[in-house]
């Protein structure tokens, strides 16, 4: 098998893009080939790690701050609920 085809198959394997039958054949081949096994395993772990990255948190504060930025540029846009007063003022606490 030439190197280009080998790399292509490993890339497809890592991205879960191979048909099940071909994937089984790749795993069988990897069982007797440490280099291939390492290549397949580590690349799939990269894909899994990316898929498992948490989404950035879209907070209520971000939602409202974006709306405020649009208001401030003159856009007529309605929030899904009234804006809480603590989004409008940010006063220092003094005690």
């Amino acid at each position: 098998m030439n190197n280009e085809l080998y790399s292509k198959l490993v890339d497809l394997y890592a991205g879960n893009e191979l048909p099940a039958e071909l994937e089984d054949q790749m795993e069988l081949a990897a069982a007797g080939n440490a280099g291939l096994n390492h290549d397949m395993t580590t690349l799939r772990r990269v894909v899994d790690a990316l898929h498992n990255l948490e989404d950035p948190e879209y907070t209520e504060e971000s939602y409202h701050r974006i709306l405020m930025k649009l208001y401030s540029r003159g856009v007529d846009i309605q929030p899904r609920e009234p804006v809480s007063s603590h989004f409008q003022y940010n006063l220092p606490l003094q005690g």
């Binding site: 790399s7 991205g15 990316l50 948490e54 974006i66 930025k69 856009v75 846009i77």
Partner: protein, 187 residues
């Protein structure tokens, strides 16, 4: 027509809502932007956060994206390509911001929860992803994080599907090289 009836209920409802908002916006109803912001605000924010690495710039870029939608509303067509067009606007804004502020050199303010080991891995992966050249990072963000189809991601990036896949595969290998033994230690 048959394809519309075979769509899942949620997708069909979203598609119809999108058409309704786009038609309203095209007719000069500025309040329709609120509907589009409700539909796509979170996805655009997530995408810009991943590209820029911090909340403040992501919020700015998201607001600017929807502002540009409003300004260019005469170009809108309710033909199913709106999302691609929206992401293209967001992408161009992110690239402009990165050029202006050299944000790639600034630390990310992303926060991750979970067990310590998994949280460490996520931060490491996020940092390694941020360190990748932009031509590798973009396909990874769109395809592996946003789970977008290759065709749509290619359209957003103005490249062919084979070129996108080539960058995606090279990007994954480059990320693996950056992560080194981290993946093996945490497996």
């Amino acid at each position: 027509m048959a394809s519309v009836f075979s769509m899942p209920n949620d997708a069909l409802r979203d598609s119809l809502a999108e058409k309704r908002w786009l038609n309203a916006l095209g007719k000069g109803d500025p309040s329709a932007l609120g509907g589009l912001y409700e539909m796509y605000g979170e996805r655009i924010f997530r995408y810009t956060f991943r590209m820029l690495g911090n909340r403040t710039d992501a919020e700015d870029a998201t607001a600017e994206t929807f502002l540009r939608v409003l300004r260019r509303s005469t170009e809108l067509r309710a033909d199913g390509a709106f999302r691609t067009w929206l992401f293209r606007i967001a992408r161009n804004l992110c690239i402009d911001k990165m050029r202006q502020h050299k944000l790639m050199e600034l630390p990310s303010d992303a926060h991750y929860s979970g067990s310590e080991e998994r949280a460490t891995l996520r931060v490491t992966v996020q940092q390694a992803l941020s360190d990748l050249p932009i031509e590798y990072r973009e396909p990874l963000v769109l395809c592996d994080l946003e789970e977008m189809a290759a065709r749509e991601a290619a359209e957003i990036l103005h490249i062919s599907v084979p070129a996108l896949k080539s960058r995606l595969y090279r990007g994954r290998r480059a990320l693996r090289d950056k992560l080194g033994g981290t993946l093996e230690r945490t497996s």
